[in-house]
């Protein structure tokens, strides 16, 4: 007797969904295998994202809390002479400043007796917000301007190109310093200005990609059948620029993180949030004896930028080998 499949029975695993998931994970595995450097970059980035999301869970201590240790020399009622010799002798506890890494404080404590590990963990939030946010703004803005510039050649293109030249003639750091001073230095404003400062590079990159696509025959064909400019841009040009967009997005992130760290280091970064750049600066005051704050905060900057750069390089090689070395 042949069994007839009952159409009401829902299969345990919907094969189509399962295939899609497994092909996603399979291509991820292939990426990790063929691009070990890019794979390790991905791992670094994922770890930092987890750290940022779980900062409050893994912080161990409140980053703003000032810790105290018992004073070994404490004396209840010191004489004036003893007080002159050691001004702290009258207080039972001291600020736990400059503790070495290990034990309760994994990365030690800073000048004000705060836990460096907790500060580093919370600093990941700012770096990720800045890097990803600014890159999104730069790519979206660069896409709009770059498409207009490439599609409407002529005076508009020339003017946009000269403005891009102008922005590139000023060192990126100076540009960012000027922009971020215009408004209050909240995190959101800093992200916005970093993205705007990055427009020059993304515009140039996307413009040249659009120029290439515009010359292709399918765009000509679309024009022949009477498609409007807007339709050609959205239906024909844009999908063919996706690879360049992803590349522009991923290779910019590290640069924005470095720029934010630099302005924070110079004391002009976003206010009211722990920042690695500002921690490197704070630690420099006692670098020779207590280098840990500088070492760990700067190490975190290097590691996160390294992760994004490795991932970006690998994505670029996979998506568009012609841009290698660009």
């Amino acid at each position: 007797m042949t069994q007839i499949a009952d159409p009401t029975v829902v299969p345990l695993r919907d094969p189509t969904v399962f295939d899609r998931v497994s092909s996603g994970s399979r291509s991820l595995m292939r990426f990790m295998r063929t691009k070990p450097l890019g794979g390790s970059g991905l791992v670094i980035v994922v770890v930092f994202i987890l750290v940022a999301v779980l900062a409050s869970v893994i912080q161990r201590n409140d980053p703003d809390n000032i810790f105290e240790t018992p004073n070994p020399d404490y004396k209840a009622n010191p004489t004036v002479i003893e007080l002159a010799r050691d001004p702290d002798i009258g207080s039972p506890v001291l600020v736990a400043q400059f503790l070495e890494p290990g034990g309760e404080y994994w990365f030690g404590t800073d000048k004000f007796g705060r836990d460096i590990w907790a500060q580093v963990v919370h600093g990941a939030r700012l770096s990720l917000i800045v890097g990803l946010g600014a890159s999104v703004i730069a790519v979206v803005g660069g896409l709009i301007i770059g498409m207009i510039s490439a599609y409407y050649a002529g005076v508009v293109d020339l003017l946009i190109q000269r403005i891009v030249d102008m922005l590139q003639a000023i060192p990126f750091l100076v540009l960012v310093l000027v922009f971020t001073q215009i408004t209050e230095r909240s995190v959101l404003n800093v992200v916005l200005w970093l993205g705007i400062a990055g427009l020059a590079i993304t515009t140039r990159l996307i413009r040249s990609a659009v120029l290439q696509v515009r010359e292709s025959e399918f765009v000509l064909a679309a024009r022949v059948v009477g498609a409007s400019d807007l339709r050609i841009m959205i239906r024909h040009v844009l999908p063919n620029c996706v690879a360049v967009l992803i590349i522009a997005f991923s290779i910019g992130i590290g640069a924005y993180i470095l720029a934010e760290a630099s302005i924070s280091f110079l004391g002009a970064g976003p206010q009211g949030i722990p920042s690695w750049g500002q921690m490197v600066q704070a630690g420099r005051g006692s670098l020779d004896l207590h280098p840990w704050q500088t070492v760990f905060a700067g190490g975190a900057i290097m590691l996160i930028v390294l992760g994004f750069n490795l991932l970006g390089d690998a994505l670029r090689d996979v998506l568009d080998p012609r841009l290698r070395g660009a």
Binding site: L37, I163, M166, I182, S262, L266, G277, T294, G325
Partner: protein, 318 residues
């Protein structure tokens, strides 16, 4: 060729004009101005009248259009005005700080290129060997490390092992007292060179790999030339051209890191001037130093483009 050069020069002048205009308006758009800041430190003593008087003295009370016209006319005549902060002429300030920046910049470039070129070459020759992976790994790290952190770690190493004393009394130039000046420049030049090297090294490596697969390299090998001649004369020369094209970008990057390094090591150069004039709202100095930096990068790009046109006829004809 002449038409090409003229077209490029006109473009370059226009870009410099745009940068000047940008920095003119940028420093005025920022909240606060020098008159208020210099008087406002002690809020009680400054009233609206003295601030207005001070603004009038500095020419900050004029309508923005008039200020711009004045600035444009003065700048065309190369009159940069007087610093609000020091009361010296801006030319004097630049004359004093530019040599420090040029010294440091040249040292950074020397370090950068003497490392990048051999390393890029070696990395390409030993492609996918452990040496190549190691060198590329270092380059990727150098690209990721913030320059201020590299410099801080280098200072830490110098301090920990007492390698040398940094003696900067009198802020000596290299040509005045090379022995003392070099102790001052040593850390920033290596930190800056380290950061500036990575891009050049990676670019040179990928170019070398491409060039080494070209027919003319195979021809050179086939006719029995020694490998060193093939690499140095046939491959490296061609691989260096693209490195030359990004010279403008490389220099802009180096100037950017100089802003930080000069601030860290108290080198009174142009980079330091950018920061102090920006934070003090010292308009004449800020406008002028940004303009000078822009002239420098634009000029580099121009020279590179023209040289490229001379070397490679395909470019000037397109």
């Amino acid at each position: 060729m002449q038409a090409y050069i003229i077209r490029r020069i006109i473009g370059a002048v226009f870009v410099v004009f745009l940068v000047g205009t940008f920095s003119f308006f940028a420093i005025r758009v920022l909240p606060g101005d020098f008159a208020t800041a210099s008087l406002g430190l002690d809020a009680g003593s400054a009233n609206a009248e003295t601030i207005a008087q001070r603004k009038a003295d500095l020419g900050l009370d004029l309508p923005i259009g008039e200020q711009y016209a004045n600035w444009l006319w003065d700048t065309i005549r190369l009159d940069f005005g007087t610093s609000f902060l020091t009361q010296n002429s801006v030319w004097y300030e630049i004359g004093r700080s530019l040599p420090y920046s040029i010294e440091l910049g040249v040292l950074i470039m020397i370090v950068g290129f003497t490392v990048a070129i051999p390393v890029g070459l070696i990395s390409a020759i030993f492609q996918d060997k452990p040496l190549d992976y190691g060198l590329r790994g270092i380059a990727i790290m150098a690209l990721a490390a913030p320059v201020f952190w590299t410099a801080a770690i280098a200072s830490l190493v110098v301090l920990q092992w007492d390698l040398f004393l940094i003696d900067v009394i009198g802020q000596p130039h290299l040509w005045e007292d090379p022995g003392r000046a070099i102790t001052w420049y040593l850390i920033p030049m290596f930190a800056g060179g380290f950061a500036g090297t990575a891009t050049t090294m990676r670019l040179l490596r990928s170019q070398m790999l491409e060039v080494l697969r070209q027919d003319y390299v195979r021809t050179a090998r086939a006719k029995g030339l020694r490998e060193s001649v093939v690499i140095m004369r046939h491959a490296l020369r061609n691989a260096l051209l693209p490195v030359l094209t990004v010279m403008g970008v490389t220099i802009a990057t180096i100037i950017g890191s100089q802003v930080i390094l000069e601030n860290m090591f108290n080198i009174p150069g142009i980079g330091n001037k950018v920061l102090t004039s920006l934070f003090a709202r010292d308009n004449p100095v800020f406008q002028s130093v940004v303009l000078i930096i822009a002239v420098f990068t634009v000029l580099t790009n121009l020279v590179v483009d023209i040289m490229y046109g001379v070397i490679d006829p395909r470019i000037r004809l397109s």
